[in-house]
Symmetry: C2
Subunit: 434 residues, 2 copies
């Protein structure tokens, strides 16, 4: 059992014989609890013919268990004013609840019930297919979501990480209940799961609740599955993906393959990202929006996976400015690749990460996510203080070396906007990927 404590906060970790890990963080002074059951199964675990299975399954699990219908699940959480929901990502799925502290037993019971005991009845499977297809249509109407999927397609090509989490109309339309149920039963095993709880809670109480949930049925012995690692084999990229859409704005995302989440240089990457495109004082924001008023939004972001990662820039602008926007972004990136960033910029980037980290951990949900993801991704817990130290240790030279390497890698780009063919895009967009 690992224990860490700082400023009244205590993180504790236990492993049940079944292989389920339980990690908790006690936060005195709050009145709530956040419970998350993290499953190391995501869209990258799907074969192409069942693309979207992990997400479809996440929906289906809420449709009823041996003890509760979908309506009863909704009624029980609404009656206490709590939130019960889930999300599916490329490498994991998380089922979570946020409730008043006194409702912790209900929250653990609900989350475990849907994850362990869902019936996945054929009738519900059919109804939910319609809901998932609606969600795909919604994504298609959201240019930024669509753009993000298009960019990963451009960068990752046929690799499973390049496929959308939602699947496609075809893969969802063709999915059979048996295939999905098989995916559930094979993949959702206790050694692949982490129960994370943060708030006004006690570790031993959470352990008692967890043991009760697992009971006999699932209490086979097991060893926690190690975090994912390795080196992604990503074949040729498509480089440019255009999604023609009758939008008022043109949306551009461009970027490179960056670092996997185990790479020690990830703290330097976060500083680089903050200073280059993370805030209102960042190079990109100042050059694109403030100095030239070319776009409403422009920012950069880091994506981390077990064995690869991304660094990308987003901009949304009027279509007739897309060329200028792409040109300015390209210029900024070449200058930074050649010269790195100033000491003042690096200091500001570090300040931004430092403040953002502390300010972002005020609610129990983000605390729960932090410990749950930490366990799933690293099998370890890095305290806030340890993280702050790693950020502090980054130097301007580290940032410059990383910029020189990453910003010279082959660029992939995606555009959502009113262009019929890639040939209609302004030349600067083609130049950026050349």
């Amino acid at each position: 059992m690992l224990e860490q404590s700082a400023a009244g906060v205590t993180v504790r970790r236990s492993v049940l014989p079944s292989g389920l890990r339980v990690i908790t963080e006690r936060i005195p002074g709050v009145r709530s609890a956040s419970v998350g059951l993290w499953v190391q199964v995501g869209s990258r675990d799907e074969r192409a013919d069942v693309a979207g299975a992990a997400h479809y399954l996440e929906h289906l699990l809420f449709k009823g268990t041996a003890r509760r219908s979908a309506a009863v699940i909704a009624e029980e959480i609404d009656a206490v004013g709590g939130e019960l929901n889930a999300f599916t990502a490329k490498e994991h799925t998380c089922y979570y609840a946020h409730v008043l502290d006194e409702d912790l037993p209900l929250a653990v019971d609900l989350v475990c019930d849907v994850v362990f005991e869902a019936l996945c009845e054929p009738r519900d499977f059919e109804t939910e297919r319609g809901v998932v297809l609606e969600e795909i249509a919604m994504r298609d109407d959201d240019p930024e979501d669509l753009l993000h999927d298009a960019f990963l397609d451009a960068l990752m090509g046929d690799h499973p990480l390049g496929r959308p989490v939602l699947g496609t109309e075809k893969s969802i339309g063709d999915m059979s209940r048996d295939a999905l149920y098989g995916f559930y039963r094979r993949r959702y095993t206790l050694p692949r799961m982490v129960l994370a709880v943060a708030g006004n809670i006690d570790h031993n109480h959470v352990m008692r609740l967890a043991r009760k949930q697992i009971g006999d049925r699932l209490a086979r012995t097991g060893t926690p599955v190690a975090p994912r690692a390795g080196r992604a084999r990503i074949a040729s990229s498509r480089k440019l993906v255009l999604h023609s859409d009758d939008t008022e704005q043109a949306h551009l995302m461009l970027g490179v393959k960056a670092l996997d989440r185990h790479d020690e240089r990830r703290f330097a990457l976060n500083v680089l990202n903050a200073a280059l495109g993370g805030g209102m004082s960042s190079r990109l924001f100042q050059e694109v929006r403030e100095r030239r008023g070319l776009a409403y939004q422009v920012y950069s972001s880091v994506g981390s996976y077990a064995d690869t990662g991304t660094w990308s820039v987003y901009a949304g602008c009027q279509p007739d400015r897309l060329g200028d926007v792409a040109g300015v972004i390209r210029d900024v990136l070449s200058v930074v690749a050649a010269e790195g960033l100033s000491d003042a910029e690096v200091a500001r980037g570090k300040g931004q990460l430092r403040g953002g980290l502390v300010l972002g951990l005020e609610d129990t949900s983000s605390r729960m996510s932090r410990i749950g993801k930490g366990e799933l991704n690293y099998g370890d817990y890095l305290s806030v203080e340890q993280t702050l130290e790693r950020i502090e240790a980054v130097t301007a030279d580290d940032v410059a070396a990383l910029a020189a390497e990453l910003l010279r890698r082959p660029v992939a780009a995606a555009v959502v906007g009113p262009y019929a063919h890639a040939d209609d895009l302004p030349p600067q967009v083609h130049e950026v990927i050349s």
Copy 2:
């Protein structure tokens, strides 16, 4: 000076001679502070020819003051990892910062500097026009935002509340710097403002910081402006507004005029809203999504203004299901208008509000908003406990009486979707407003 304290939380209020109100909430155990300067000026204060002035002004104020350029403003807040931003609504504008507690003086300084001392230089005025036009284009690409504006247009017609906060391409394109600067200097007076601060702070410290900001220049005596009240004179509604758009989903919003924010029945309205369309167990969610899988999202919401209000239902679905969705919503509303809700539903609606209220007040930003808006809208502070009591006091009869009145009022509706003319909409949409 008003003082209220519960569970270690203390709310204090002072009025400076200039008419500026300062309201603070001390929250022990957190490490941050949220600072908001609330101005009782919003889009409803604009004449039609300067529609969007309040929002355009909000942008412009960040472009530089006597002491700081736009870049320096951004650098100072990024250096401490804080957030500095603003939003404009129909009846108010709020400038806010969220920082570590030790950075409170900087946060108060930055927020007051941009609101009191902005230069509004002609060159920045021109650059920012482009950014605001980008934001209008972004709104046009977001079906739900567009729908919301279209619905208020349908319900409120030519009343200023029916106009979009962003203004129009024409009104922004035609705006002169002098008109906007005049709007700023006439409207942004201290008696119309509330400085709200929540977090690990001390009221007297905040008062010292506020006095220092106001200094001599603006320290004329004044009396706080009373909250808005009255009765909105809203002429004929347009009833149905269609915005043709090449979207995958059809988006429908329908609703009625409801209660102004001073109406004592607002607690009953919130219970009705929660039970009818506020959660996964609500009537609308169960009937539309769970039982029939007709839509991905369906929910209802309450809008409150000084002298009127709205209650509305949103649904997003495949275009070929729009008729069924509208029909089911109409049926649900007529049943509830005739029969009210069951005791179990009312109890669940109350539980939902209760839990949601407490869980929604965990971060300092929402605490700051609560006290700032309370002061601006009511000139008073209702504690969480007092609010919980008012919710608890609502009966099933109150809810039934309100449903019988509101759900029989004339319905207005808006649709965003792939329909060229209103005649192309399914008959159920026309029936819903007839």
